[in-house]
Symmetry: C2
Subunit: 138 residues, 2 copies
Amino acid sequence: MQSAETKLNKNSLLLALRRYSAAVHNMEQTILLPSLLREVPPDDALDCDAAEDASDLYQSYLLLKAIRNTIDCGLIPADDGKAKKNAALNKSLEPLLEEDAEVLFHFHLRGLFSVIGNLTKKSQNVTEKYLDIIGISK
Amino acid sequence: MQSAETKLNKNSLLLALRRYSAAVHNMEQTILLPSLLREVPPDDALDCDAAEDASDLYQSYLLLKAIRNTIDCGLIPADDGKAKKNAALNKSLEPLLEEDAEVLFHFHLRGLFSVIGNLTKKSQNVTEKYLDIIGISK
């Protein structure tokens, strides 16, 4: 019998969401003292731009957990700044939003798949960085 | 003990995806002769624009099944026409795609949540229309 995971195609959104949750779970289990991440700058060498607004890895840690909760528990209202940016995104899309639902579905599916992949890498990076800080290298 | 479904918030994407799969499953179980949907025009009174490209309800039926398979099994390459529309959507977003991952995550999450809600309604509508055609009204 195959496990639920092997039955899912590697490009499946459900698998990507599951992997993200697992990466954040691992991050939470590993990082026993999140405050050690304070004032540690995010690694710019990473090719993902997750949590650009985060001033340090502690902020990234909180953000990655909040995003996991949103996936698991539902949409939450964005704060004013984020809502404004979302409104700008929607505004620029307006003429195209009249496209059919299939196009829109694939657009958002691919977009979410891609951003979740980046956030998963970011989560793994925060975990590795924490291990570096406490002197445990993989 | 709560069921997995009741534990999920009603705004959860996972719940929305599960509801869509259930609606398509119900549609497949109900529609024993999909060919009866040929040349039946989509109901314009519906406030959702799922499958605008579909010339009849049979095309909608096939499209809704294909989208369910994409959710369950993974991303598939879009055909040329759809790929072009997707490229146009991405192009118009380019300046905004440099926003941080959190904004992008919420944008695509909300977008997918909304389009999946519309497709679920569409799927229920195709099922009801089929029942009308064969003379069984709810």
